[in-house]
Amino acid sequence: MAEVLVYVDHVDGAVRKPTLELLTLARRIGEPVAVALGAGADATAAVLAEHGAVKVLTADAPEFAEYLVVPKVDALQAAYDAVSPAAVLVPSSAEGKEIAARLAVRIGSGIITDAVDLEAGDEGPVATQSAFAASFTTKSRVSKGTPVITVKPNSAPVEAAPAAGAVEALAVTFGALATGTKVTGRTPRESTGRPELTEAAIVVSGGRGVNGAENFGIIEALADSLGAAVGASRAAVDAGWYPHTNQVGQTGKSVSPQLYIASGISGAIQHRAGMQTSKTIVAINKDAEAPIFDLVDYGVVGDLFTVVPQLTDEIKARKG
């Protein structure tokens, strides 16, 4: 069976969920060969093998952390040359997309970004994409070269499928461009202990209606009662009430959870672009005419300052 390269997104050896989802998709079109780079790469092998990786190619070098993106492209290209895969799959993070894109130019291939599903087809893998703020669903293929496809989080189930997962060291030679952009400083993001926004099964978001940074505690309390991630509209972020990393929408994160709860959010097209593919959508808004209500499975027309705490208390009571 043809091999499929899967680029591994991990933090010091802890593999992030979107990569495990990629392994599920990769198995539909071939045998997954994982590529893990940087500190802790070797430590990723066990979980990758558990989810279907027949082989794990690893490389570590100071260049991966000291320079932006290009050293990782050099490494992925080395893996591509070593394996001659039928397709290359990369998680649709900001960095993942850039790595995939540069690889695609180098190997003379087309690229599809932000796929939400992937199937085998007669002329190669067929990707499903959401277009125009998720108002359209398209099916596309790469028609030249080896398909390079980036896939959004929550696009496939994580499935156990034990495979050999033999670890092999990948030899990488860095090109002249690798050291072009130096990373002169790095401030790690502080963990909130809550699930990662793009990977969470439930997202609870607040908007301008929350009316102040101090009131976001109400949203956080609801999120914690459900084990959810916290999101925010751009209006709330621009007002400085919540960090930009939590912004949901076109220029923030795009989320696709099982449940999305919007409080005090009107549902502007740019916000919808980032959450419209959520499975179940719930909104609390005091304006019955707010466009968000066009999307909801369940909506409450009311003041979030009374509805949200009541909901939180009720959830806590039911969970005992």
Partner: protein, 261 residues
Amino acid sequence: MSLRIVVCVKYVPDATGDRQFTEDLTVNRDDVDGLLSELDEYAVEQALQIADEADDAEITVLTVGPEDAKDALRKALSMGADKAIHVEDDDLHGTDVMGTSLVLAKAIEKAGYDLVITGMASTDGTMGVLPAILAERLGVPQVTLLSEVKVEDGTVTGRRDGDTASEQLEASLPALVSVTDQSGEARYPSFKGIMAAKKKPVESWDLEDLEIEADEVGLEGSWTAVDSAAQRPARTAGTIVKDEGEGGKQLAEFLAGQKFI
């Protein structure tokens, strides 16, 4: 020494309009108003600020697109850019990101540059990969997704706020920069700016000027193929209740019914 800045801007259908695909599965540009992609306004703004700080700088705005795309160039010129280049050719219809980036790279090289600035993503294709591809094609450092940018003594520095960390970046010119919507509000064109823009030069180039063959671009030359596009079925009308004091409890009941609690 003059700093030559080229800003890439895209002409896109208004996101608040009813965006559709045409029969050949390309974007319908006729039934929805087009405009300068809002995210590219941030790129123009940063170019203007960088030019202000430089001793001597010239800003060229560049677009690849149909006739109407001139509107996007005019908007950028009225914000304060100095001149514009419009790459237009019937054979470009339906070009994907590999083709677009090829055309942009050739045009940028022909124009001459020290710094290329783009937006973080377009508001229609929203791929967010064109900047990285351009850097690869041009063979210059990519300093992308910056929420802060500065150019001094031939060096560009900036801040990139990523998922797990905030990074401080540095590269030598020539370089390619992309900026996010966190980089600073874009200015509104002044009346004077709008009047002045009418007199600024807009050059038109076609594929021949860039020595690109027709079969390298367009639908035929695409590296990708769209097989189908279907409008997402409207969500079935949900239940909407008015809070009469029990709204939170009713919602909890719904969530329990859906097994979320």
